[in-house]
Structures are given as C-alpha cells and as structure tokens.
C-alpha cells in the first residue's frame, strides 16, 4: 500500500509543478486534472473512498471541464505577452512573502498533527453523510444559501425577455 501512496503523491506533486510552469494553458489544466486524480488516489489509500470519488466527480469531472471550456474559447496565444509583462520579478516579492508564511504555517501544522494517526478505519459514505447533516449542518446550510445566490444570479443573467417580433422587424420599427 505504501508504495502506491508514494507513487500517487509523486505524480500529484510533479503534475502540479507541471501545471504551474506549463506554457500551454490547456496542457497545464490537463496536468492539474492529473494531480486531482492522483490526490483522489491518495484519499482512497487513506481509507476515505467517498472523498476520493467526490474529488474525481466534482473537481476533476465537473469544475475542470468548465475551466477547459472557458480556456478553449480564449485565444491562448495572445495572452503570453501580457503574462511576461505581469510576471516581472518585482511582482513576486509580496506574494512570495505571503506564500512563505503559509508554508511556515503548514510545516507547523504538520508537526503538530503528526501524532494523530490517519487511516485506521475505512470511512463509509454513510458516516460522511451523518456528520455532514449533524455536526456540520450549519456549514452545509450556509453553503446551500451561497449556491442559491449563484443559481439566482445565473437565472437573472441567463433569462431573456421573450421576443414576439422578429429582430429585423424590430430594427425597422426603431428607425422609423
């Protein structure tokens, strides 16, 4: 089992690096998907099959398709020059500092959580569901409300006024 974990973890890390450093946007996204898949394997090996499946269905399956969908329609070649302009070294200082702080945090957190053993029992979907709807009910409801706003916004943006007339006739009426 361990060897699989290390393979998956290595794949995840390498593909994430490729995703960040890739020049071709679609290829970068593909590497990102690969890293999601690898992470889902890691989850599975940590005895959380439900999360692993959700990782694939939601992140790799649904959200990344939308990313690709948008990137497909952009003309990727044009952006390259802009990117070079934005990415001059001075711009890196503040984000770099922030990232360093985060890294430090992460290391600390890892050190603290070392003692908690992981994966000594398989977490069934049922347990996840029960804890979602009891312990974390508030968070679930909040997320639901957030999503609801999204739905309403999408409806508002997407709704069209019903056109009875043909658009050519419309123009004519406007002009005269």
């Amino acid at each position: 089992m361990n060897i699989f974990f290390y393979i998956a973890a290595t794949v995840a890390i390498i593909s994430t690096i490729m995703a960040i450093s890739g020049r071709n946007a679609i290829h970068a996204l593909l590497f990102l998907i690969l890293s999601f898949l690898a992470i889902s394997v890691v989850f599975y090996l940590l005895d959380a099959p439900f999360i692993a499946a959700l990782e694939v269905i939601i992140y790799a399956g649904a959200i990344m398709v939308l990313f690709i969908f948008v990137t497909m329609m952009l003309n990727v070649g044009l952006e390259r020059k802009m990117e070079n302009k934005w990415l001059n070294p001075r711009m890196w200082i503040v984000p770099g500092l922030l990232a360093a702080i985060l890294l430090f945090d992460l290391i600390l957190a890892l050190k603290v959580s070392r003692t908690i053993p992981v994966g000594n029992q398989v977490i069934q979907p049922k347990q996840v569901g029960i804890s979602l709807f009891s312990t974390y009910l508030l968070a679930v409801e909040m997320t639901a409300i957030l999503l609801m706003t999204g739905v309403i916004g999408a409806y508002h943006l997407g709704s069209q006024k019903k056109k009875v007339m043909h658009r050519f006739l419309e123009k004519k009426i406007k002009t005269c």
Binding site: N24, I26, H27, L30, I33, P49, F50, A52, A53, L54, V56, I57, A60, G61, A62, V65, L66, I68, F69, M72, M73, Q124, P125
Partner: protein, 314 residues
C-alpha cells in the same frame, strides 16, 4: 486467478458486445426502416464487423499538422479507458465482478464525468471550428446531464442503502426497483442517452450541421476508438439500467445469472437503437431547457419522495 478470469471475462463480454453492436445496430435500424442492412459479408453479414475493423486499421492514421498532437492522440484513449474501467464495478453475476467496490455508483459517476474530457479535448485538439463547436456542445450537454444522472440514482441508493452494485442487486430480491423508482429510471435513461451522446441526443456530432462534430478530424483506428467507445457506452448504460432498476443478474434459476444479466442488457441496447430509429434530434437549447426545467425538478422530487417514504416506513 479467479480475479484474472473475471477481468478477462468482463473485458471479453464488453468488447464482444460493443463490436457486435456495430452489426446489430445496422441490422436493427434497417429492420425498423424497412431495409435489409448489411447482409453480404459472411452469414447474415456478420463478418461486416471484421471487414469494418480491417478497413479502419488500414486507413491512414492521420494526425493533422495543425492539431495539438499529444492531446489529439490521448483523447480517444480516455474515452475507452473510462468506460472500460466502469465495467469493473458492474456485477455480471453474483461472483462475476472484477471489483465489488463499496462506492460503485460513485465510481461510475466519476468515470463518466472523466469521459467528457475525451470529447472536449478531442474537439479542441483538432483545431477545427466544427470540432470545437461540437466539443463545446458536448461539455455543456454532458455536464448538465451528469447532474441528473447522479441525482436520479440517489433514489436507488437510498432504497438499497448502499453505493455498491452488488448490494443494490441483492436489495432487489423482493422486487425490482423499476416500480418504486420509475421516475428515477426515466431520468436515468434520458440522462444516459445524453451521456453517451446517442441519437436523438447526438448534438455534439450532429452530422447535419457539424460535419462529424468533435471527431471530424479523426481517422483510422483513432476514429475507431470513438466509434467503439460509443457502443461501449451504450452497453455500459444498458448494463447499468439492468443492474440498478431491473434486478441485474436476478432471475429464475434454470439459467445462469450471467445470462439474465446479458438478456436484460441486450433488451435495453435494443431500446437505445429503437430510439435512434424513431426520434429526431432536438435543438441544442431545447435539450438544455428540457434538462434543467423538466429533469432536474423531476429527479429532485423523486429523491424527496423516496426519502420521505423511506423514513415514514422505517
């Protein structure tokens, strides 16, 4: 040893059915259209499949110079791999299953959502207007219908109290789920049609407007993989319908369970082909509208009612 046998058996059955479907579909369509269909090569034209395969193998396997080469080559493979992987969790018989996963349905949903990439990437990598339009349609259509597909199965999951396919089949010993889950069945069937982008929902490839949609640029065996992938998809969805709503391998014991399973699967494959023979293709926006305005409320209502009834009787 047994596992290896199971894997070989599942692969053999799935691929044989998929290949045979090339012939079955053409013959059945011709029956419903008062024609004869391919009947020249071999007895009843059965060797047509072999002839087609040979033809595909010997065609020039052309990768367009304007395409994104690695992605272009990868795309058809993704389709086949995701579909074949899903066959691993489907029980062909009580012991005839490659991997009895306790997240079987989620595994299937995950794989089918990954299958979208094959079409989206194939269309994008071809670097061709029509392919791109096809890919865009595919991504929107399949994302949409994946939602209902997942939702429509939740009723079954609730009733069986498990995500595992074998547990679902066992739970149907008292009666098939088609009766209590009729709405779920309808939604799943329609969503399955859209997921496999079969006629009448073959909007991503609609040859009338988009040449061949996302696989316009494909030729040779790469096209063949899309082609077989489509038939594998039909087989998969039919097998799932049989498993989830019609009791899978359950059946009178004078015949082996595998037979019952295959019989049910084949029935739904024929249904798919009948739909192809009879229905015209809807417009793209009609499809989306139908999905979000009819199927979504239907499947949500189904979940609600199933849950309520289950709690009431507990």
């Amino acid at each position: 040893m047994k596992e290896a046998l199971n894997i070989a058996g599942v692969l053999f059955i799935a691929l044989t059915i998929a290949a045979g479907l090339i012939w079955v579909e053409r013959r059945l369509l011709s029956v419903w259209q008062d024609r004869l269909g391919p009947n020249r090569v071999g007895p009843f034209g059965l060797f047509q499949v072999i002839a087609d395969t040979i033809k595909l193998f010997f065609k020039e396997d052309w990768v367009p110079s304007f395409s994104d080469r690695p992605v272009f080559i990868m795309a058809p493979g993704i389709l086949i791999i995701t579909i074949l992987l899903t066959f691993a969790v489907i029980p062909f018989g009580p012991d005839f299953i490659v991997f009895d996963s306790n997240i079987g349905i989620l595994f299937f949903l995950g794989n089918s959502s990954l299958g979208v990439y094959s079409i989206v990437l194939g269309g994008w990598a071809s670097n061709n207007k029509y392919s791109l339009i096809g890919a865009m349609r595919a991504s929107a259509q399949m994302l949409t219908y994946e939602v209902f597909m997942g939702l429509s199965l939740m009723g079954v999951v609730m009733m069986a109290d498990s995500f595992s396919f074998n547990a679902i089949v066992e739970a149907q010993k008292g009666g098939w789920f088609i009766v209590p889950q009729f709405i779920g069945f309808i939604v799943f069937f329609i969503a399955g049609l859209a997921e496999t982008h079969r006629l009448p929902f073959d909007i991503p490839e609609s040859e009338g407007e988009l040449v061949a949609g996302y696989h316009s640029e494909y030729s040779g065996m790469k096209f063949g993989m899309f082609f077989v992938g489509e038939y594998l998809g039909i087989t998969l969805i039919s097998a799932l319908i049989a498993t989830l709503f019609f009791g899978g391998w359950l059946g009178p014991s004078f015949l082996p369970p595998v037979f019952w399973f295959l019989l049910k699967t084949f029935f739904f494959i024929c249904m798919f082909i009948l739909l192809r023979a009879s229905l015209p293709r809807p417009r793209y926006d009609q499809l989306m509208k139908f999905g979000w305005k009819v199927l979504l409320p239907l499947s949500l209502g189904n979940i609600l009612i199933t849950g309520a009834v289950l709690i009431f009787f507990k």
